[in-house]
Point group: C2
Chain length 244, copies 2
DNA sequence: CAATAGGAAATTTTCGAAAGAAATCGAAAC
DNA sequence: GTTTCGATTTCTTTCGAAAATTTCCTATTG
């Protein structure tokens, strides 16, 4: 998932490895929160994190401070940090905010989008399709084949659509909301839940792409539908904590 | 400026003083960046900050990490932090993003807004008017009378408009963008620049409020115009750094 | 028996020093 | 005169221990 939200902030020269332990802590904590390796709602004891990642307090606290700004971590003064809980309300808010941001970004991209932008979309769509096909062919084999690669392609496709919007803030927010909503998607992707209507995600992507290349306002509508449909399926198939 | 962006994050029990030095560092650094006490673009040497605020590295770095997420501070791995520079492009992006966020938040507020919401708007408008009048009466006296109080009232009015939107994310983003754009407004407020067309800001606020209470889509239009007008005046009357 | 105060343990937060990396400066080589 | 290399200095980053605070447990009181 190289390139997702947060990479703007610490400008490390090459594309290579992170230069500071603070950055390492940030990336690993974020990955573990998104993947669910760290349970939602649970307190993040510094001693435990120190142990887990082999880092000391300073870089850990700096990373947690940053994650707090991105709504992945909660903090209470003198009482430490905890993984931000999951709830219906938060998922809805994240989804609708994402739609607001990406709709505008897509519109702006379509307005000024050039040939390179179009080509990048087509390329990302193709790569996503290949990965999806490979995925479905291997489904049922050695567990969770390569969800990571799938996520990355999926992210790249949606990012390509809005890449030409011209606003660093919108792109950043989109990245951040992608990560936030990913927390909700991930558990659903692991196993197909019974009673879920078969859904042709590839067709939805195709529809969005086609409308985008036509520079049609339909693209915005399709994109919003795409996100809302995902949110609905997740809401229905998630076992929510009692109080949320 | 109690209550502006960032207060969500660290939940300190009472409304009282900040419980941690990390929080103190955050608030003071932010205030100094917004007020211009720390020059835009300049590097933030930790030794100097330590001296200035009487704090040590850890809380300072944690605060800087947070400010970085809010686009007030820039950081380069192993090369430290610097105050985010000001530029036309950034101001435009911040302004347009703010309009996007607040337009949606205002629409949602108008949809579900109840009596208390309306009352709070009227109250905030009134308080702002009183402060503005006092301000203009005292203008020309002992320098910069109480810009702080004025800012606070102004913030509270705009916040009251969108307060009922129901989305914590939108409110947070609005807060953040308010602070960001405040950096550009502040220098303009100090002295009225020659050639600036006399502008009846109070009338604009009145117009926004009236349309809002009527639940008219005009409110959204007026609000956007209000922000764009401010941005234009600032752009014209600011001495921009050569490369920006 | 519930409520409360006191104290021990666990945890967060802060500090100052040590380690590590980049920038600076000057001398030597081209 | 310009470039390159190396040592020195400056600065950031990290660490582990000390300080401050909360949490938990127990004994005591009403």
């Amino acid at each position: 998932m190289a390139g997702v939200a947060g990479d703007r902030r610490i400008v490390s020269e090459g594309a290579g490895e992170p230069a500071t332990l603070s950055e390492v802590a940030y990336q690993r904590l974020r990955a573990d929160i998104v993947s669910g390796a760290l349970d939602a709602g649970k307190p993040l004891r510094l001693e435990a994190l120190k142990q887990r990642y082999g880092l000391s307090f300073s870089p850990l606290r700096e990373a947690l401070m940053r994650l707090q700004s991105e709504r992945l971590v909660l903090s209470t003064a003198l009482r430490g940090f905890s993984v931000a809980p999951l709830s219906r309300a938060e998922m809805k808010d994240a989804t609708e905010t994402r739609i607001l941001i990406e709709s505008d970004a897509l519109r702006r991209s379509m307005q000024g989008g050039d040939d390179d932008w179009e080509a990048a979309i087509v390329a990302a769509f193709h790569a996503l399709s290949l990965q999806a096909e490979r995925q479905s062919r291997l489904s049922g084999e050695v567990g969770a084949v390569d969800m990571h690669a799938m996520d990355e392609r999926h992210y790249q496709f949606h990012r390509a659509l809005i890449a030409h919007c011209g606003s660093p803030r919108l792109l950043d927010l989109a990245d951040q909301l992608y990560v936030e909503t990913q927390r909700y998607r991930r558990p659903c992707l692991v196993g197909r839940v019974a009673g879920t209507p078969a859904r042709d995600v590839a067709a939805e992507h195709q529809q969005i792409m086609d409308a985008t290349l036509r520079r049609s306002e339909d693209a915005v509508r399709y994109l919003a539908e795409h996100y809302r449909r995902t949110a609905e399926i997740i809401e229905a198939s998630t076992v929510w904590p009692s109080s949320a």
